[in-house]
Symmetry: C2
Subunit: 370 residues, 2 copies
Amino acid sequence: MNAVTLNDTEAIAIGAGILGTGGGGSTYLNRLRLDNELRHSGRPLPIMRADDVPDDALVCAVGGMGAPTVSNEKLQEGREIMRAVRALEAHLRQPMHAIIIGEIGGGNALGPLVVALQLGLPAVDGDGMGRAFPELQMDTFMIDGIAPSPFALADTHGNIAIFPRIGSAKQAEEFARSLTIEMGGSAALVMPVMSGAALKRAIIRDTLSLAKRIGDHVLDCRARSIEPARTIAKLCKGRILFIGKITDVERRTVQGFARGRLKIAPFHSAAPPTLPMAEPRDVLQIDFQNEYLIARLGDEVLCAVPDLITIVSLDDGEAIGTESLRYGLRVAALGMPAPKELKTPEALAVLGPRAFGYDADFCPLPGDLL
Amino acid sequence: MNAVTLNDTEAIAIGAGILGTGGGGSTYLNRLRLDNELRHSGRPLPIMRADDVPDDALVCAVGGMGAPTVSNEKLQEGREIMRAVRALEAHLRQPMHAIIIGEIGGGNALGPLVVALQLGLPAVDGDGMGRAFPELQMDTFMIDGIAPSPFALADTHGNIAIFPRIGSAKQAEEFARSLTIEMGGSAALVMPVMSGAALKRAIIRDTLSLAKRIGDHVLDCRARSIEPARTIAKLCKGRILFIGKITDVERRTVQGFARGRLKIAPFHSAAPPTLPMAEPRDVLQIDFQNEYLIARLGDEVLCAVPDLITIVSLDDGEAIGTESLRYGLRVAALGMPAPKELKTPEALAVLGPRAFGYDADFCPLPGDLL
């Protein structure tokens, strides 16, 4: 993938939604912004291969921080991330060479492309997650030991914070989360700043191309009136965990996150009240913290972080974010193996079920997404 | 006052405690630190008059932010403020010319002197409050319209945050308060950065000298075994509001502040249970948010912000901070008129009783502290 044009954005948005595992924010809003920016610039956005970034060049990963339930309603002003990048450039007295996608999932795949266009910089094909994760320490840049500082946060009103020195990625997460909440629940994030050499060590390559490829397949299914769930699962080396309708959603925006759980029951469980309800083992329960974390049938874990759990609309394969869950949606829950970079012992310590408070070892789905 | 030596610190600490109106943090801890730094440097700390700072010089006000209940127990590492000043100098690529005391009340009068010694800079005789206040927008620098950004916060662990662009002082307060809570409830603050010209427009002059003078008088009373309360009140153009013992303290550390209220009853109200309790109008009630805000006898307001309410130990005139209140202390509550800079309409909008949520106009005590 050498460039992004107006012809690519629909497929990228669909694919990023599927890789978003429920989080990363609305692809709809950020696709509108990207289309607008592409029209405004009048030319395609150049996409670089990570390996073509010079070792001594300065690059930065960017994205939106906060709860998708908030960012879906509290719209961006549009130049938050750009201002944060400019503030870091001014602080460091050094220009950025390219924009890195912090997480390829959800709207956060598209926001960085908007920023790259605004700044006249190329974007790089790849990201730090191969999906979306809720916290700042949860990416391959931080797991690789790249310094979390300096990083920057910016809000809709032009306020900017720079953290020139922070002890750890977890500490960065705590400070940035507090400030994001104070900024209204969503904020623009630039983190980390790194050299081309560090980027090449840590990035998960070609995930923008993967998002595009997934989206292209979904669009093809739609054109041929095929339910896309099986196609997506196959393309992502995963499987369908469950098909049914959403029968329950508990969701609260707390501590800066959309947290909760949902239940998916088979269609036949819509039984008349005189019949017994579906057994717990027949109902898929998925917990989420911005992203879907763990999918269980009764006590059996079908899929858990860092493997990808994605919920798609059964008819058109559109991913359903945690902010958009509602009773009655007919969906397929997909389980897809994580990229191999997320399954090292170092990565699992940060991204595995125990890192999210579950007393369960990670039992990987077979294969690797990438 | 041209310099601070080891011979001055006891008096400054006593006077700063009295001007602290319950807040500004422990003078005991910061006096130990100041004495230590003076011994270490082997020379007095030069004190400048505000009017001797060149108009185009860069200066910064510094202090500790947070709840005194926290800073009294969570000790500083000792170089937090210095690191924050250095970070701002590096960010601005410009050295500071002198250190300004953000608030002359409590330990915050002494902390900036420690920093000045650490940085080899003079400190200025004066501050932005003439007392202590709980929030960042509550000083004459902000009231005068000096930009709140760039400002810096630092914690005990070496973490630093710089806010290069913030829309308003109230916004700065909100961001900094969140981050201070995340930093454990107390943090080092550098704010505002300003020119010598702006300093001269906004500073309340000679408050360090005032603190020293108050302390000298208290020490003189102690040497002569005189209760110091009347002497302090007279020197500060105020009056004794009430003498009695503390009979009740409600105090919680919430939202980053020590909030609560206390009651002081006359000694004779320690009546046997068969006699009626003291009438409400005989009991002084004082509300506080880090600092004492309003003193009432029944419905009658005896003294309210921005005028100074200070509680001193009856026997030795030592000020009692809101973190040190406890049942049974024998005290005098003093009311002292605020410096005239705090009583303009612009200042009262930020510092008056209504700014703290009280449905009461400001009825000033006669006179001006300065």
